[in-house]
Symmetry: C2
Subunit: 255 residues, 2 copies
Amino acid sequence: MQNKENTPTMTRRKAIQCAAALGGIAALGTTTRAHAAENTIKLKANDVVLFQGDSITDAGRDKKDQSSNRIPTLGNGYARMISEQLLGEYSELKLQCYNRGISGHKVPDLQKRWQKDTIDLNPAVLSILIGVNDIWHMLNGNYDGTVEDYENGFTQLLADTKKALPDTTIVICEPFVLRCGAVNDDWFPEFTNRLAAARRVAEKAKVIWVPFQDMFDKAITEETPPSYWAGDGVHPTMAGHALMAKTWMDVTGLG
Amino acid sequence: MQNKENTPTMTRRKAIQCAAALGGIAALGTTTRAHAAENTIKLKANDVVLFQGDSITDAGRDKKDQSSNRIPTLGNGYARMISEQLLGEYSELKLQCYNRGISGHKVPDLQKRWQKDTIDLNPAVLSILIGVNDIWHMLNGNYDGTVEDYENGFTQLLADTKKALPDTTIVICEPFVLRCGAVNDDWFPEFTNRLAAARRVAEKAKVIWVPFQDMFDKAITEETPPSYWAGDGVHPTMAGHALMAKTWMDVTGLG
């Protein structure tokens, strides 16, 4: 049962993951350990894990079927990939993983359907990725919401959520674009301002922050140009979604 | 950006994964480190990763489209989950991940299509999961292959493969069943004998062995009965496939 004589090597990313996972047992450094302790979600039996957002979360899910824990209803993106891993890893907890992302949605669209699609599901973990349409639809002339509208609306949404669901762990995913496909210079610096707004919202609400833009910026190399991660600059490829799922699992301490 | 005050805890499984991953940097024990060093696959640029087998590998893939790296052509099982993770994690390598599992196939069926479906693809990594139909179809009266036929045919298949593809890393996945659904006492001890045969084949061929039966046996608990992992005892659920993907990634050192 032997294989090649290769010596295992370790990437910096893997070292950080392991240091985070090792937590109280061993550690590569105090800073990393502290970071892991801050962000680690502890799931309980029968917890609901809910993914909310736009088309990136939707990822082609079957919206006629609202059930949890089924591949068609979870779509083909990071939400499904995370759910698969959670159901495999935390089998004893009987988690219920739902996807309620809807293609094209912006913060005001989430607000309209928040009671039915989020509050009523009573999630233990609520992961939200929203913002790219708030600017994209503006650039297309189909929406007139400003950065302030985005920030204020998002802030209000989280305040309402925390009031209705005080025990819910909220995870905010950083909106992102990659400079290819539909994403050209017209998006900037407006998009950068939106990112800053999303970050302020998350910081004020003291929620877990998953730095997707930062992750993609670092993942772009000569061998892997932006289009490897998202062909149109907005919708991730299979590899892009997989990278998002891995980062989400790492940041939440669930990986 | 704070979260709950939970202290991260560590499962035995996670400790083993991390010890394996840490490899030469740090370790929890010499035995674990040695195991990781034996099995670690080192992928290179443009490598082809090929998954071969029966319905468990097939997992509903679109067989009209033979292309790599697409969710429909990779199916909905462990092969697709592993491919997603590889494409996200090893983005710089431009891997090509193919699924050529076909529902209902046994060792003799693989032999018939091996040249076209395996050798011609020249995989750097070839993962094979085969065996459950070799017994299931016999129990159903649709096949008369014995344990010896399985062992001899599988041995010959690997010998032919190693001759045609001397540089390919071969991964043999242990066939498995769970005691529920279609799997009743009639399967035993015949199935246990088949497992022993598969293991002998893998040992003789000195390939990487992924112990799926052992993994599922350990994963069955009061909270997660066999049906959680495979409703009919043969075809894994989403959680079952996810657990397989994780174990495959860990054993090969690619996780």
